[in-house]
């Protein structure tokens, strides 16, 4: 128990902070922060596996998140029959051509020795292939995008429950990570960081501009939920009586029946949205706990020991007969797959896929700040980092406003300087997070909850 005392203390402080928000601001707010914290925690665990266990630096988190979101769309959106009829065949043919092209190149690389002729052959196959694919796919894309462009204009998905996308998202992200890892993992750490960052930019550019697949910047809205809708809840009898039971004290104070009904309606409205968020919290919590158990088990398994050995001394581990390239690739894929799950969860929660929202700042750098602040190499630390940074990210505006009021108390409310400061309150979150990162890196370089390795 003593081993975990700092974890328990840190987590209790976090929970108390969130409960305080629930009491002083609103439960709705507290729960939405809590849900985002949980999603961030999944992302940080993914990054932590790569950075903390293996020392691999992956700045492509944004790309894997976006792919997870894409999975949610492809699984949960209703299929658009007209679009399939209009251009589905073209798309499938081009897909077939693409696979054929890749297989041919693979065949050539496997069966011919390296020579100038082979290189030229491969290049000409790629050029020819791209031209043929473009000519076959273009009419299909045009046809698909002209099917009711304001609401559809894309192929749609499979119309399955969105929960499945969490697994599919993991596979998508893992698949991309496999390709990226194959080509980029040999690079030195800072080159790897830049390469993964730029590759993820390419992925997001594709998701953003291939409208036939993702509707691009027009966004996919109204993905079906697995949890009940607020509107339905408000009309359900058992829910209304539940709210009545919870707030019986408040309701009994009012004697007038009409007033009582109005208050009850309001409470039911609030309660329904809290209830929906609670459902999500439950689902997300299950994911977080499952991943946490798995990663903890992995960390203390022989495999985890091997990963740490590779991280701390690559050459020695290599000399002991460990295949470093293979293990790096494995852990790169695993970590990215976890990030993919988080991406799908994010879209599940919002019911909305907005490719333009995937920015490296929000989905790569902020996540990295979480990992570093929380404590790299320690899963509990990574989760804590996700919670603490997201909490600061949301609440720093309030904190900044408080301090601005404090320092400018003797100024007029119409003073230009004060107005300017109050207008720029949203940007204090960058300042707070940045300073937090700098201070932690300087004075507690291993993070709030440092890595603990037991030597038995």
């Amino acid at each position: 128990m003593k081993k975990y005392s700092d974890v328990i203390i840190a987590y209790s402080i976090m929970m108390v902070l969130i409960i305080l928000i629930g009491i002083y601001q609103s439960w709705n707010m507290a729960l939405s922060i809590f849900n985002m914290c949980l999603i961030s925690a999944v992302m940080t665990m993914g990054a932590n596996i790569q950075w903390g266990y293996a020392g691999l630096i992956n700045f492509g988190i944004m790309g894997y998140t976006a792919l997870g979101g894409l999975a949610a769309v492809l699984i949960a959106a209703d299929p658009v029959q007209e679009a399939w009829r209009a251009g589905g065949l073209d798309i499938l043919v081009s897909l077939g051509l693409l696979v054929l092209m890749i297989l041919t190149i693979r065949f050539i690389i496997k069966n011919f020795n390296k020579s100038k002729l082979r290189t030229y052959g491969i290049v000409s196959i790629i050029v020819l292939g791209v031209i043929t694919i473009r000519t076959t796919i273009e009419p299909g894309i045009d046809a698909i995008e002209s099917v009711d462009p304001s609401t559809k204009g894309f192929l749609g998905g499979l119309g399955l429950p969105i929960i499945f996308s969490w697994i599919v998202g993991a596979f998508f992200a893992g698949g991309l990570a496999f390709i990226v890892g194959k080509v980029a993992l040999g690079l030195r750490s800072d080159y790897l960081a830049i390469a993964t960052l730029l590759i993820s930019e390419i992925v997001v550019a594709i998701i953003k501009h291939e409208d036939w697949l993702t509707r691009g910047v027009k966004n996919v809205i109204g993905l079906k939920r697995t949890v009940p809708y607020e509107i339905d809840l408000q009309a359900t009898q058992w829910f209304i009586s539940l709210v009545e039971k919870f707030n019986s004290g408040k309701l009994n104070l009012i004697s007038n029946i009409a007033d009582k009904q109005i208050l009850l309606n309001q409470l039911v409205k609030e309660g329904s949205s809290v209830f929906v968020k609670l459902c999500y919290s439950g689902l997300f919590l299950i994911v977080v706990i499952m991943i946490l158990i798995l990663t903890q088990k992995a960390l203390y398994s022989p495999w985890g020991r091997m990963m740490r050995a590779i991280r701390d001394n690559e050459e020695a581990a290599n000399a002991m007969g460990k295949n470093i390239a293979k293990q790096h690739l494995l852990i790169f894929v695993l970590g990215s797959a976890i990030v993919g799950i988080a991406g799908a969860m994010l879209v599940t929660q919002d019911g909305l896929f907005a490719p333009a929202g995937y920015r490296p700042f929000r989905y790569t750098f902020v996540i990295w700040v979480m990992v570093i602040i929380g404590g790299s190499g320690n899963n509990f630390g990574a989760i804590l980092g996700g919670f603490a940074v997201w909490f600061l990210w949301i609440e720093s505006a309030h904190i900044a406003l408080f301090f601005i009021d404090l320092f400018t108390a003797n100024m007029d409310d119409t003073h230009v300087f004060k107005i300017h400061l109050i207008e720029s309150v949203p940007y204090f979150r960058y300042l707070v997070t940045g300073l937090g990162l700098l201070l932690i890196m300087r004075y507690r370089p291993k993070g709030i909850l440092p890595e603990k390795i037991q030597v038995k």
Binding site: L198, V369, S424, L435, L438
Partner: protein, 336 residues
């Protein structure tokens, strides 16, 4: 068939914009590469530092405008650049003193320093946005065109017009001057040579009596000049928006690595490689082919290799290809 018009078309839409854009990227890329060569880390705060310098220039420009000072046909911002550079250098010294110096003395691995620079990025971004806000600011004044398309047509009698903007001329000339001075400094002066030595082998350089503090200081001064000038020129050409500067950082990184990181000359050319590949691949060549092909063969489609949506992706793909096949860059990196 009309070759002269075709050439003018290419000049107007590819060569001149490419040179301008490339110059802006090149200045930033040399900044990244110098920091990498001498301070030995990938500076993720690059874009935001450039935004900081530009912000100061914008503030000075509006101050001068309110005093009624102007340079006539030239933009007032040129007058503000020296002041912006000085503030930028002081900001960099401040950051170095309180943030980077500690890690440098500890000989921390470069990855950790890169992480620290992310912290600096956040803070700088906050400062810029708190002071000037996140919105677009246009601070170009003065004459817009050196020669307008219509004037050119009238002057020469060609079908195709050639428009040259004043800022394009200023950007190219200023970049060439700066880069010439920089290379002269690095290759001919004693200080420049000692920087080279420090970059090649720190311990040997220290043994031969080179003062590391002085080298670091000079590096930040050069970096401040390059970052501010590059940022202001970009801002004058497009407009000043903190967000785009952050995005430009990725392109600047691409330019620096494509050219061979640590190699200033490579970074300089890398800027142009990135700019031209972006423009060449996303330009629609339809009109060009109409000029050079006989009428019977005129193309119907836009003749565009990739839509302009993918212009960033093009530069990044080039970088990824370079990293895979020649990780030291086109021009051998890691030598100053």
């Amino acid at each position: 068939m009309d070759y002269i018009n075709a050439i003018i078309l290419l000049l107007n839409y590819i060569v001149i914009p490419g040179l301008t854009y490339g110059s802006q990227l090149a200045l930033g890329a040399i900044f990244v590469t110098l920091i990498y060569a001498i301070l030995r880390f990938a500076n993720f705060a690059t874009g935001d530092m450039m935004a900081f310098g530009t912000m100061v220039a914008v503030l000075f420009t509006s101050l001068f405008q309110s005093w009624g000072i102007s340079l006539g046909a030239l933009p007032t911002a040129l007058l503000a650049i020296p002041f912006a550079i000085i503030s930028m250098i002081f900001y960099m010294f401040f950051i170095d003193k309180f943030v980077f110096e500690y890690y440098r003395l500890q000989k921390t691995p470069p990855v950790i320093l890169a992480m620290v620079s992310i912290g600096v990025m956040f803070v700088t971004q906050a400062i810029v946005r708190i002071i000037i806000g996140p919105d677009d600011v246009t601070f170009f004044d003065g004459k817009k065109f050196v020669i307008k398309a219509a004037e050119f047509k009238q002057l020469t009698g060609f079908n195709e017009g050639l428009a040259i903007q004043l800022i394009q001329v200023i950007t190219i000339i200023l970049t060439i001057i700066l880069v010439l001075i920089l290379f002269w400094f690095l290759n001919k002066t004693k200080t420049g040579k000692s920087m080279k030595a420090y970059s090649d082998n720190e311990d040997l350089a220290l043994l031969s009596g080179i003062d590391p503090k002085r080298i670091v200081m000079i590096t930040w001064i050069i970096a401040g000049i390059l970052a501010t000038t590059g940022g202001v020129l970009y801002g004058l050409d497009k407009s000043f928006k903190p967000f785009t500067y952050f995005d430009n950082m990725l392109l600047i990184f691409a330019a620096a690595i494509v050219g061979g990181i640590g190699n200033p000359f490579g970074a300089f050319l890398g800027g142009y490689v990135i700019a031209f590949s972006e423009i060449l691949i996303t330009y629609a060549y339809k009109k060009f082919f109409i000029y050079i092909l006989p009428t019977s063969m005129e193309p119907e489609s836009l003749m565009q290799l990739l839509s302009t949506d993918y212009k960033f992706a093009v530069s990044f793909s080039i970088l990824v290809i370079v990293l895979l096949y020649r990780p030291s860059g086109i021009f051998k990196g890691r030598v100053l």
